[in-house]
């Protein structure tokens, strides 16, 4: 419904648990090439509202030219600039307020577990859970101070290691004032284990958030098909 076009800033971002996803060595694209992509995208964008981009691939805050990249997106007329991030850097220095000031209005924050011990084990980064939660809080606070509307959306890659924590992870996002959670279900996950995804979706709704499910057919979602973008968007394309 509101499409975001993914724009790769590089590779090696920590979107999923290290026990499942093979992690590529981090690398970053040239900022000039990214800026050119914004211009092309803006010219090609043919359906309101937009254009909207989601900067992803590598951890955005690890890209040394992130401010210039966001500036190029603004200059290209991008309406919504989003970041897919582990949220750690959002809590550092003035990153949250700086991102908002430069034009970021949408953040998808990744969590792998609902507590520090498990999240840090799955991410392989000590202290990453507390830092991510602090980062989300910093973003919400900075948006409030700046009096800007910024959408915070949670993101979980659903694998055997995150599956049974999904409802609790959802509550962490709810406490952080996220408006939605995106559950990206890995292909190899057995359909019989979707009950945990369903529980997470229901947890989201009763927490006054929305849950999006990627990677599960409408048939398998049954009466929860509304949570699949395909059921909402119709025209196709990424939606939030």
């Amino acid at each position: 419904m509101i499409r975001f076009r993914p724009v790769q800033l590089g590779v090696g971002g920590a979107a999923e648990c290290r026990l499942c996803g093979g992690r590529e060595a981090p690398s970053r694209r040239d900022a000039v090439a990214v800026a050119e992509e914004f211009s092309v995208l803006a010219d090609e964008w043919n359906a309101a509202p937009g254009p909207n981009v989601l900067l992803c691939g590598c951890e955005p805050f690890s890209h040394p030219d992130l401010p210039e990249i966001v500036g190029a997106a603004v200059a290209a007329g991008t309406e919504r600039i989003g970041l897919l991030t582990d949220a750690i850097a959002l809590g550092e220095a003035d990153n949250a307020s700086g991102a908002i000031a430069s034009g970021v209005r949408y953040v998808e924050a990744i969590l792998l577990a609902p507590n520090a011990a498990e999240h840090d084990r799955l991410s392989g980064i000590p202290g990453s859970f507390d830092a991510a939660v602090a980062g989300m809080e910093a973003l919400v606070h900075a948006a409030s101070v700046a009096e800007e509307k910024v959408a915070l959306v949670g993101r979980v890659v659903v694998c055997p290691h995150t599956l049974k924590s999904l409802p609790e992870i959802t509550l962490v996002f709810a406490k952080a004032s996220a408006s939605a959670v995106r559950y990206v279900v890995r292909k190899e996950l057995c359909a019989s284990r979707l009950e945990w995804v369903f529980a997470a979706l229901d947890t989201a709704v009763v927490s006054r958030m929305w849950g999006w499910v990627d990677g599960v057919s409408l048939e398998l979602l049954g009466d929860r098909a509304l949570h699949a973008e395909a059921a909402v968007v119709v025209e196709g394309g990424a939606s939030s």
């Binding site: 419904m1 509101i2 309101a48 034009g103 209005r105 509307k149 006054r208 009466d223 509304l226 909402v232």
Partner: protein
């Protein structure tokens, strides 16, 4: 009575924060202008916010030692008013508690039967009825003889005949011109007519008035000048349709334009967007309008039929485009849970509105308001709502409880992402 023949009246409105009740302003201005009440009735108006504690409200009222408390009841303060009245009855056993407003007038007998703390409900247009009621209190004559009230009598509940509508709206003094209300920046309203040309099944905007009655042009012009002279630079019009006719829009635009040149801005006027072309949009801009509110409420054919609403996708989109071209932000409203709407219709409505990129998108769940066609036909239409609370719909025939809650959450998330954007590029 606090003295021989003198009645202390407290008027209470519980509004969104920062807002004032124009209705109470009218009620007070009309009563104060009644020669029969002059020197016999004193008024205090409490324009307070609806997020206050009822105990604190009762405490504040008790300090005034009123003989009569009149409270305006709207859908957003209904529960708070009920709590307040129950406390007041015990705190001030002799006080007469009078309610009025769209939330209680159409179901007056039911409300009185449910809440023993209440004495009288003023039904319909309140100015004349409330003044007559006060006159009855002052004279000591029976309240049930006042047209337009529902009250208690000999252990029962009785309703007097409906009162006819005021034939001349100008008979109601302007609260601003009479000094009854001091207008606030950003939240002041002006009303130029009563009634609504539409009869949407879910809406009580027309309040059963049946026909449109206008305040005089001179009165409206004087109110605009009064607000501007009081330093107010942003206000709004409460009219159900600001662009009621082209002639009226031309007139209003001409009235407002000189003030616009000196900094006046109008926000959130309601418009019939399907009747806006580039000329009308230019007139709105000349009138200082920076934002408008409109439907479509639903795009589902069956819901539109049941709710007696016309909707033309192309005309609607054309109107929104014309407004955007003039730099006017458009708030498009959708109602979730209208009878006749399936989940797919609600999604279609969301896609339609998002695709228009209007600037502001608002989704709300259906509240079946007393006095509306949907209220009267709720059983027939299979609408299940919370009668004792906010009248919010629990489920419809077409959308069950669970899917309704899902649509609320989805709508909230979509709205949140939609509004999170760089304003300069819209």
């Amino acid at each position: 009575m606090s003295g021989e023949g003198f009645l202390k009246v407290a008027l209470v409105a519980l509004n969104a924060t920062g807002y004032q009740s124009l209705a109470l302003g009218y009620i007070r201005a009309f009563a104060q202008a009644d020669p029969r009440l002059q020197g016999k009735v004193g008024f205090t108006t409490l324009d307070l916010s609806a997020d206050l504690d009822p105990w604190w409200l009762a405490y504040r009222l008790a300090q005034l030692k009123p003989e009569v408390v009149g409270i305006s009841v709207m859908c957003w303060n209904r529960c708070l008013v009920c709590d307040l009245c129950s406390i007041l009855r015990k705190a001030l056993p002799d006080v007469r508690i009078v309610l009025g407003g769209p939330e209680v007038g159409p179901i007056a007998e039911e409300v009185l039967a449910r809440n023993s703390a209440l004495d009288v409900i003023v039904r319909g247009e309140g100015e004349e009825t409330f003044a007559e009621l006060l006159h009855a209190y002052v004279k000591g004559t029976p309240v049930w003889r006042v047209d337009g009230v529902t009250c208690r009598r000999e252990g029962g509940i009785v309703s007097s005949p409906d009162r006819g509508l005021l034939s001349r709206l100008d008979d109601v003094p302007s609260p601003y011109l009479a000094g009854v209300m001091q207008p606030n920046e950003g939240t002041a309203y002006i009303e130029t007519y009563r009634g609504c040309p539409h009869s949407c099944g879910y809406c009580f905007e027309g309040k059963g008035y049946g026909r449109i009655r206008y305040f005089s042009n001179e009165r409206v012009e004087a109110e605009v000048d009064a607000l501007f002279s009081a330093g107010v630079r942003t206000f709004s019009f409460i009219d159900p349709v600001f662009n009621l006719t082209r002639d009226r829009l031309v007139w209003l635009s001409g009235v407002l334009a000189p003030y616009v040149a000196r900094g006046l801005r109008l926000h959130t006027v309601e418009v019939d967007v399907e009747h806006i072309d580039s000329t009308a949009a230019k007139l709105l801009r000349a009138a200082g309008v920076v934002s408008v509110e409109t439907g479509p409420q639903s795009v589902g054919p069956e819901a539109l039929r049941i709710c007696k609403r016309a909707f033309d996708r192309e005309r609607f989109a054309s109107g929104v485009a014309a407004l955007k071209a003039e730099g006017i932000a458009v708030e498009c409203d959708l109602i979730v849970g209208l009878p006749g709407d399936h989940t797919s219709d609600v999604l279609d409505g969301m896609r339609f509105v998002v695709g228009l990129d209007p600037g502001i998108m608002q989704m709300s769940t259906l509240h079946v308001l007393p006095g509306t066609d949907l209220w009267n036909r709720a059983d027939e239409l299979g609408l299940d709502m919370m009668n004792e609370l906010s009248h919010e719909i629990v489920c419809s025939q077409e959308i069950g409880f669970t899917d309704l809650r899902r649509l609320e959450a989805l709508g909230s998330a979509i709205t949140g992402v939609y509004r999170a954007r760089l304003e300069s590029t819209t």
